[in-house]
């Protein structure tokens, strides 16, 4: 029996809950402490745990390097994109009112979309930085 059985079993139990908690923190950012940055860092921590316990090769199959590096600019594009859409429609930059019908609703859903962009960008950035550090030592 290998020596890391306890680590592997516990990690297999924990990682889905950590990812679920990250999504909970993201989507309940309107009603409880949370939001994009916290959720992005917690999701990145789940990926780090997977890489540490199961090895870097299996982690690179689950979260490829290209996906992590692409997520960095996709998140910024989502955020800046909602601002630019408002600019194109004739309103101010990052004004959420032209996107939806009711002005109060527009703020609510505008915050939702923007926090989603923040989540994607922060998770991608943290995982890409981690890969950069660890892959440097291997070659």
């Amino acid at each position: 029996m290998r020596l890391d059985v306890i680590l592997r079993v516990v990690a297999k139990l924990f990682i889905p809950f950590i990812l679920l908690f990250a999504l909970y923190v993201q989507f309940h950012g309107h009603y409880s402490p949370g939001g994009g940055f916290q959720a992005g860092v917690i999701a990145a921590a789940a990926v780090f745990l997977y890489a540490i316990v199961f090895g870097l090769d299996r982690c690179k199959q689950v979260v490829p390097l290209a996906v992590a590096e692409a997520a960095v600019w996709i998140g910024v594009a989502i955020f800046a994109g909602t601002g630019l859409i408002a600019l194109v429609l004739g309103w101010n930059f990052l004004d959420y009112t032209p996107l939806f019908a009711d002005p109060v609703d527009a703020q609510y859903w505008g915050i939702f979309i923007v926090e989603l962009g923040v989540l994607v960008s922060v998770t991608g950035a943290m995982v890409a930085i981690f890969y950069a550090f660890v892959l440097r030592g291997r070659q």
């Binding site: 009603y31 409880s32 402490p33 940055f37 922060v122 930085i129 950069a132 550090f133 440097r136």
Partner: protein
């Protein structure tokens, strides 16, 4: 004397925060290992966040999430500022560590005293 004792009791937690900040500053200035300097910078930054958050707390208030049963809330503006500052801090820590790794690969050491001597020797050899 009541004024002086009163002032000390009221400002006591600001002064402890400043003491922690000075310990972080001492690590940055005195230590020559680069990774310890970066850790000292992170310690300094977190004590600055504490100094910003302290005036926003209201005794008898609660976290700034509006609900029907609460009336007094803590000031939300320092929270927003510090949230941004924490993320910028970790970004600068990541860049600092990447630079440290490259310096180690180029010169073989991360102690600033040795590095200064090596760079001076290179400059004199030119």
């Amino acid at each position: 004397m009541n004024g002086l004792i009163g002032t000390i009791v009221e400002h006591y937690n600001y002064w402890i925060t400043i003491a922690l900040m000075m310990m972080g500053l001492y690590i940055v200035v005195a230590k020559s290992n680069m990774i310890k300097t970066l850790i000292g910078m992170a310690i300094f930054q977190t004590t600055v966040y504490l100094l910003y958050l302290s005036p926003g707390k209201i005794v008898g208030g609660t976290a700034p999430i509006t609900a029907k049963q609460f009336e007094v809330y803590a000031n939300p503006l320092p929270h927003v500022l510090i949230l941004t500052a924490i993320v910028v801090g970790v970004a600068s820590l990541a860049m600092g560590l990447a630079l440290t790794v490259r310096i180690y690969e180029a010169y073989g050491t991360i102690e600033e005293d040795d590095l200064v001597q090596m760079v001076d020797a290179e400059d004199r050899a030119e």
